[in-house]
């Protein structure tokens, strides 16, 4: 297992370096005088030049690239070009908020979707299976911003049951935070419910049709024993892979949901940075999201390897 993890980590580091290089290239392809952007069109050229010198944006590209790679290693991205705020605390706060929202959305989605998928698989082609499949297809085909808007108008504005803004007051306790996050998390959960439920259903059906599942039943195990000991471990492997990708996606920020509920997660932070050409914030944000993706994928790989030793052994060969 250690060899498996170290190989995955090495791959992750190479991916991170590639990502940092791509982000640097993209950021520097844009024609942009950073000093002028910050100080505005009326600032004297000497002030612009002085600022560019202070920020190091007047240096040759290769020097800037080396500095960018140093930033990746030391994780020191300095201050935002636009707001003057330190980049890392800003991003840490944003990723924290995204983690809360994504966490709640996954907490709602995963148990419901897996139970629904298993239930549907056990009752294949019956009305309840068809109803779950239909519900899954329908929910995953309605974009988050549509469900979010409907929830805001109906639950927030008309019924006034939940707050329409997702950001809780400072120092709010956990129940209050959940209350504020419930609507956006539900909007996201509705979409992902369909993906995960259908993936679970198809994985379970495939395993239920396998020889070993049939053997387990024939040797006299009860349905729940068969499901717990033989089906679930194998049936959920593709589901775990899908969830891992969704975690990265959710942490990266669902901009539409964040906008509707005025929630400053990674999505809004990155969009704002892109609109303002705030290169340090944008670069650090891309790296952070990349790391989250890699960690989620690594966690999924490890979970899958734990669930299925054949995969682990193949990887170690």
């Amino acid at each position: 297992m250690a060899r498996f993890i170290s190989r995955r980590l090495l791959l992750a580091l190479i991916t991170l370096w590639l990502l940092a290089t791509i982000v640097f290239v993209i950021a520097n392809v844009l024609p942009n005088d950073v000093g002028r952007t910050i100080l505005g069109p009326f600032a004297p050229q000497e002030s612009v030049d002085a600022l560019n010198k202070r920020l190091g944006t007047d240096q040759p590209l290769i020097v800037q690239y080396v500095n960018a790679m140093k930033s990746v290693i030391t994780f020191d991205y300095g201050d935002s070009y636009v707001t003057g705020q330190p980049v890392l605390p800003t991003l840490a706060a944003a990723i924290g908020r995204s983690a809360k929202l994504a966490g709640l959305a996954l907490l709602i989605t995963i148990p419901l979707a897996i139970i629904a998928g298993l239930y549907a698989a056990r009752r294949r082609d019956r009305p309840s299976d068809r109803a779950i499949v239909l519900l899954g297809v329908t929910s995953s085909s309605i974009p988050e911003f549509v469900t979010g808007t409907i929830l805001v108008v109906v639950v927030g504005v008309q019924l006034k049951l939940l707050p329409v803004l997702a950001t809780p007051p400072p120092n709010a306790d956990i129940p209050t935070q959940i209350r504020y996050l419930l609507m956006p998390a539900t909007a996201m959960a509705i979409v992902y419910f369909g993906y995960i439920a259908r993936m679970t259903r198809s994985g379970t059906i495939e395993v239920l049709q396998s020889d070993y599942a049939r053997t387990a039943t024939m040797k006299g195990l009860t349905t729940s024993q068969t499901m717990r000991r033989h089906v679930l471990r194998n049936a959920l492997i593709p589901t775990v892979a899908v969830i891992a990708v969704q975690i990265g996606y959710l942490f990266g920020g669902i901009i539409a949901v964040e906008k509707i509920f005025n929630y400053n997660g990674m999505g809004q932070t990155m969009l704002f940075a892109a609109q303002q050409k705030d290169i340090p914030m944008l670069t650090a944000g891309a790296i952070v999201i990349g790391i989250v993706y890699m960690l989620a994928t690594l966690a999924a790989d490890m979970t899958i390897a734990w669930m299925n030793p054949r995969i682990r052994l193949e990887a170690e060969r």
């Binding site: 505005g40 707001t83 800003t90 944003a94 950001t167 005025n262 704002f272």
Partner: protein, 577 residues
């Protein structure tokens, strides 16, 4: 007419002030314009009231009343806070939740966005603050100001008893001088070419004398709430420092918490020179778009909205519990047409397009009537020197066709570039429809703002002349300015830094120069008449409307007022009992 009162004012007035008094008495300024101009050039409210009263008692024709002076127009008396609106019984205490644009920068010297303007102005103050009517200036950190005869030297008397929040040290003239030096060094757009390094001098601890590069009758506006970066900061303040790093102002509110992503909170400054504010504090929630602000108000999560647009906030316009603050402002869109090259190089073609605009229909459809007609020049009706005698251009399709024919142009087809901002894409679509009636085909190209500004409106290259890489036709947005100098200087003067139409007219340049150096009302009006006439005839830009700045609060609060630049004032606000 009570000449004894008038003569008293005449005797105590400087030549510039006298010019305004005589213009009012001669009927060349309305009462509204008299108050506005009078407050700019430092006439005290007592003097203006005496003149108005004297004229009112006269049997001679009264000054044209374009609107009586609002009761709240009186500049704030020394040492007292603006009185809260008495429309409903108020209680002391409580907090107001304010929905605001997320600030891009809260560096008082370098900020360029409404979000930044609004939040920094809670902590720091201006020499000339916002009058409760939302349009005029009133004494802020300066108690009074007086120009010399030709408007080249302005003397500002400062308020005493004002202290800095951090250590309680007194505010003095040295703070003002240091602030002005920082602004000049940063190339402040309002002060550029007006005030130079060393131009502000502390004559004594409570007096600052400004010696300008040339005569300027509008100077107090340039150190007021209408030039948002001129917030007075302490002498030792370092340019580039942001509000959250050093929230050491003199204002009514002290910054308690600040999060650039989510919002800020302010608490009452007990040492404020204006006395105790009725509210305990304000809580600011930052938004990236106006739609969620409106929803948040409807969901009762905010009490005030710093700015919204008609399209996003339609429901607020008819909400009986919403106190709408609709400030007439110089906010506008310019439809630039390249004058130097391309299909719009001939004046007749530009005029033809302008004749296709159905301006009343645009105002109705885009703003539900909350805008004023534009006449293809930048002199807004609210400016005291606006000349209404220049004929208003109206839709005339036959004339548009004949102008095109005279120019030898048929089947004119052009791309109308615009950014994805507020009502602009809808404006482009409506213009396309209206132009088609005259046989002009406009293809609308809506782009992200970054792409639009960088590639269509004013590309960096070629750099000389500025904006010479601009598209031949497009729509660009302009914010409110208390004087039209920036519009004229940047967008229309030869080689102006935002001159995307590449307009170059010696006659216009001279008229603008005349306007800048004019210090009397008659001279300013005369220069503006020339400017309006030249621009309307040359039509380097189409300007169909000036729209209102919309803000508002729940009716649970009163005493809130706002400028058209994002500065909402809560020092007199209170909860309704």
């Amino acid at each position: 007419m009570d000449y004894s009162e008038v003569d008293k004012v005449r005797r105590s007035s400087t030549p510039l002030q006298l010019d305004v008094v005589e213009s009012f008495m001669g009927g060349r300024l309305s009462r509204r314009e008299f108050i506005t101009r009078g407050s700019i050039i430092g006439l005290s409210m007592a003097s203006m009231t005496a003149i108005i009263a004297a004229c009112s008692s006269s049997a001679s024709p009264s000054p044209s009343a374009a609107g009586s002076a609002p009761a709240s127009a009186a500049p704030t008396a020394a040492g007292s806070a603006p009185a809260a609106s008495a429309s409903a019984p108020a209680v002391t205490g409580g907090t107001i939740k304010v929905a605001s644009q997320k600030p891009v920068s809260v560096d008082p010297v370098a900020m360029q966005d409404l979000g930044g303007y609004g939040i920094t102005a809670q902590c720091f103050e201006f020499l000339c603050t916002l009058d409760p009517n939302g349009k005029d200036i009133a004494p802020g950190l300066a108690l009074s100001w007086t120009p010399n005869a030709d408007g080249t030297v302005w003397t500002f008397k400062l308020r005493t008893g004002v202290t800095w929040q951090k250590d309680g040290s007194p505010f003095t003239a040295d703070d003002v001088v240091a602030t002005m030096e920082r602004l000049v060094a940063a190339g402040n757009s309002g002060l550029k070419g007006v005030l130079e390094k060393g131009g502000a001098v502390a004559t004594d601890p409570n007096t600052v004398t400004f010696t300008l590069a040339g005569g300027n009758g509008n100077f107090p506006y340039l150190v007021s709430v209408f030039n948002a970066q001129t917030l007075i900061t302490p002498k030792d303040y370092v340019a580039g420092t942001t509000l959250d790093k050093d929230p050491n102002g003199t204002g009514a509110w002290k910054l308690a918490t600040y999060n650039a992503q989510t919002g800020a909170t302010f608490t009452r400054n007990d040492a404020w020179w204006g006395g105790k504010t009725p509210l305990d504090g304000t809580e600011w929630i930052f938004f990236d778009a106006t739609g969620p602000m409106v929803t948040a108000y409807q969901g009762q999560q905010v009490d005030a909205i710093v700015q919204f647009d008609v399209l996003s906030g339609q429901s607020l316009l008819t909400d009986p519990n919403f106190n709408l603050i609709a400030t007439e402002a110089a906010l506008h869109r310019q439809i630039w047409m390249r004058c130097d090259t391309g299909q719009f190089a001939k004046k007749e073609v530009r005029q033809a397009l302008a004749y296709t605009f159905d301006r009343p229909a645009l105002i109705q459809q885009l703003f539900q009537g909350k805008a004023q007609l534009g006449n293809d020049h930048v002199i807004w009706q609210g400016y005291p020197y606006f000349d209404p005698s220049v004929p208003q251009r109206a839709q005339d399709i036959d004339k548009a066709k004949s102008l095109l024919a005279a120019a030898g142009v048929s089947n004119l087809t052009a791309t109308l570039h615009c950014g994805q901002l507020l009502e602009i894409p809808d404006l482009a679509t409506l213009l396309k429809s209206q132009a088609s009636q005259a046989g002009i085909t406009l293809n609308v190209a809506v782009e992200s703002l970054t792409t639009f500004y960088g590639a269509q409106w004013c590309p960096d290259k070629p750099a000389d002349p500025p904006c010479s890489g601009a598209a031949e036709l497009g729509i660009v947005d302009y914010g409110h300015r208390a004087t039209p100098d920036v519009y004229l200087n940047a967008a229309l003067k030869t080689k102006g830094i935002w001159n995307s139409s590449q307009y170059s007219s010696p006659a216009f340049d001279q008229a603008f120069k005349d306007f800048q150096t004019a210090v009397g009302v008659d001279a300013q009006k005369a220069a503006c008449t020339k400017i309006e006439t030249i621009l309307n005839d040359d039509t380097p830009i189409g300007l169909p409307y000036f729209y209102n700045y919309l803000a508002g609060t729940s009716k649970s609060f009163n005493g809130v007022y706002s400028s058209a630049l994002g500065q909402m004032v809560f020092s007199a606000a209170s909860k309704v009992a």
